[in-house]
């Protein structure tokens, strides 16, 4: 962002002379190299049918140690209605057994078909005892379900701790970044100490976000990571040794290259065109409206803050804010402010929209599409949709997924506009293509390349169609890259917090203009998305989708 090495303006000869050096001297390129090294590793493991899974913090309820052990899950079909919730399980089983057992029902929409899958799971830190098994079995009438519990009993006898895998991940990522720091002229040893503490704070942020009850509130790791960093920087101040490990740009940009691989264009084909109408028609209109409203009406001086708030509001909240902020080299305080605002309003909208939709008697599909197009974070969209019903949940999730896919296009276009117009000296001649390339944030190239490569090369290599898409999503993205991306964003948010100052944040508020921008933009988004939702799902243009 603001402190990028490539933002400096050396004279043209010197810059052209050092063009090749940029490949190993700038954070942008290092983000591409490290990001693609992780992608290549994930693809190779999946290609050779290896079983590597990047370690993540698991859901836990009362004992935080559970978070470091992977759940054991078994697929079931038509699990008894009486056990389909934590409450029902608790009622039917002894408390200790019920706390360990999980039932999960997934409702998906693929190629015009509604698909349901069910799994039961067990927290594996404590193996299922014979007493646990014998408490569950009498509640089940079906032989298939009894077999599933027997299998779960067997599978849980060997707990799967994540401690060592997490340490390996921390060291491997740290080694990659230390190499980058050393090659860019920094001190790898200084970096390592700070990085270690930042990673531990990241683990703490994930630990809190992944507690069973906390997951229901929609307060993600990004919030806690930011808060921990802010607590340190605004009380005792961030020590220099800790700051040395705080390579925010490198963490964010590497995470974004990995995020690029998760943007699969084949997903749109699978999900259908109605979601495209809602998500893609409205999003550019809202971005443009908010940009002009922020710069012309509110006369906000920081164009980068305006575009970050606009992207977060219209695309997908925090992820879009990160991508856009990196593309326009925004200040860290601007990103902190936008993320904070987005997280608060996401929770408020998740609470308010379902009762409002119920109160006015809006159809499930229209309501789902409306929420999918307006609530910022995907988790909150799914939660709000689930309250209205399965159909609302599916439509909301589909619209949001399609909107998520826009993140790459938005980041790319914003980067181009910034390089060619906003950052350009108005008196200077229009820059040449090569000049644009020199100034273009290179990690965006990695971001877009990863998306195109995964969408149009890797999916066909893995079998094409739905089979290829599922294989890539499960074996490459699900197993390795999305977890690594999550860790990198988490580290980045700790680092941003450590570098943010409340006084500068207050300065960014500029008489509450960013909040006014968010509220007006979100209001516009709500109106436009509602119209689009009725057009696509409410019978104005197309009939509702038969989903029973």
């Amino acid at each position: 962002m603001a402190e990028d090495t490539h933002t400096a303006e050396p004279n043209q000869d010197a810059r052209r002379g050092s063009r090749w050096r940029e490949l190993y001297k700038t954070e942008d390129w290092w983000a591409v190299w490290i990001g693609f090294a992780i992608l290549l590793f994930a693809v190779a493991v999946a290609g050779f049918h290896g079983h590597v899974k990047a370690p993540s913090i698991q859901r836990w309820t009362t004992n935080p140690l559970d978070a470091f052990y992977s759940d054991v899950t078994v697929k079931v079909k038509d699990w008894p209605e009486t056990l389909r919730s934590a409450t029902a399980l608790k009622a039917a089983l002894p408390r200790e057994t019920a706390d360990q057992l999980r039932y999960k029902r997934k409702v998906r929409y693929e190629e015009g078909q509604r698909k349901t899958s069910e799994t039961i799971g067990w927290k594996s830190r404590r193996p299922m005892s014979e007493a646990d098994r014998d408490a569950i079995l009498p509640t089940l009438a079906s032989g298939a379900h009894r077999k599933a519990i027997e299998q779960l009993y067997r599978d849980t006898q060997t707990p799967k701790p994540n401690f060592m895998a997490m340490a390996v991940l921390m060291v491997v990522l740290g080694a990659g970044f230390a190499l980058a720091v050393a090659m860019m002229g920094g001190r790898a040893r200084s970096f390592a100490t700070g990085y270690l503490v930042i990673f531990l704070l990241g683990i703490l942020a994930y630990l809190i976000a992944d507690q069973g009850t906390m997951k229901a509130y929609g307060l993600p790791y990004a919030l806690w990571a930011l808060v921990f960093g802010l607590l340190i920087s605004n009380t005792i101040g961030t020590p220099k040794w800790l700051l040395a490990g705080s390579k925010t740009e490198l963490f964010i940009k590497t995470g974004l290259v990995l995020l690029g691989a998760e943007i699969l264009f084949s997903k749109i084909v699978m999900l259908g065109s109605r979601g495209v109408l809602v998500a893609w028609l409205v999003t550019p209109c809202v971005i443009l409206f908010m940009y002009f409203f922020g710069t012309r009406v509110l006369k906000m001086t920081s164009k980068s803050l305006v575009i970050i708030v606009a992207a977060a509001t219209s695309v997908c909240g925090v992820s879009a804010a990160i991508a856009t902020a990196a593309a326009v080299k925004a200040k860290k305080d601007e990103l902190t402010l936008t993320v904070g605002m987005t997280l608060i309003f996401t929770v408020l909208m998740m609470i308010a929209m379902p009762p409002a939709i119920k109160a006015v008697g809006m159809g499930e599909q229209v309501g789902g599409a409306w929420m999918g197009g307006t609530i910022d974070a995907t988790g909150a969209v799914v939660a709000a949709g689930a309250l209205l019903g399965d159909n609302a949940e599916i439509v909301a999730a589909v619209v949001k997924m399609i909107q998520n896919i826009l993140i790459g296009l938005v980041a790319f276009c914003v980067a181009v506009v910034w390089v060619t117009n906003i950052e350009r000296d108005p008196q200077a001649a229009h820059p040449s293509v090569m000049e644009i390339w020199y100034r273009f944030p290179k990690f965006i190239v990695g971001f877009v390349a990863a998306s195109l490569l995964f969408s149009f090369v890797l999916i066909p290599v893995f079998g094409g169609g739905l089979q290829g898409l599922n294989a890539v999503e499960k074996d490459v993205i699900g197993a390795v890259t999305k977890t690594c991306r999550g860790w990198l964003f988490c580290l980045a948010f700790v680092a941003i917090g450590l570098e943010s100052d409340f006084r500068q944040l207050a300065g960014q508020m500029a008489g509450g203009k960013p909040i006014v921008l968010y509220l007006v933009g979100q209001g516009f988004n709500l109106i436009l998305t509602l119209i689009a939702a009725y057009l696509a799902f409410g019978g104005w243009l197309f009939d509702a989708i038969p989903m029973n």
Binding site: K106, V227, A352, A383, A397
Partner: protein, 72 residues
């Protein structure tokens, strides 16, 4: 405090650590309170209660983080 950045302008070391301890206690208190599973009464708490009942994770930022949107 010359070796630090971003901190308060020139607080004493004790004042800075007191602020840190107070902040940590307040934050810890908030986290522990939230973990108890309190939900607002009426429609304002409906989503939270439904999430708790059906073990729905409202935290994911991107669609690939949502368990139900990616293949098993």
């Amino acid at each position: 405090m010359s070796h630090r950045i971003n901190g308060p302008e020139k607080p004493t070391r004790l004042a800075a650590w007191t602020r840190f301890a107070t902040g940590t206690l307040l934050l810890g208190g908030l986290i522990v309170t939230l973990m108890q599973g309190y939900t607002p009464p009426g429609p304002a708490g409906d989503v939270f209660r439904n999430n708790q009942l059906h073990d729905i994770n409202a935290n994911p930022l991107f669609y690939t983080d949502v368990e139900s949107l990616v293949p098993d």
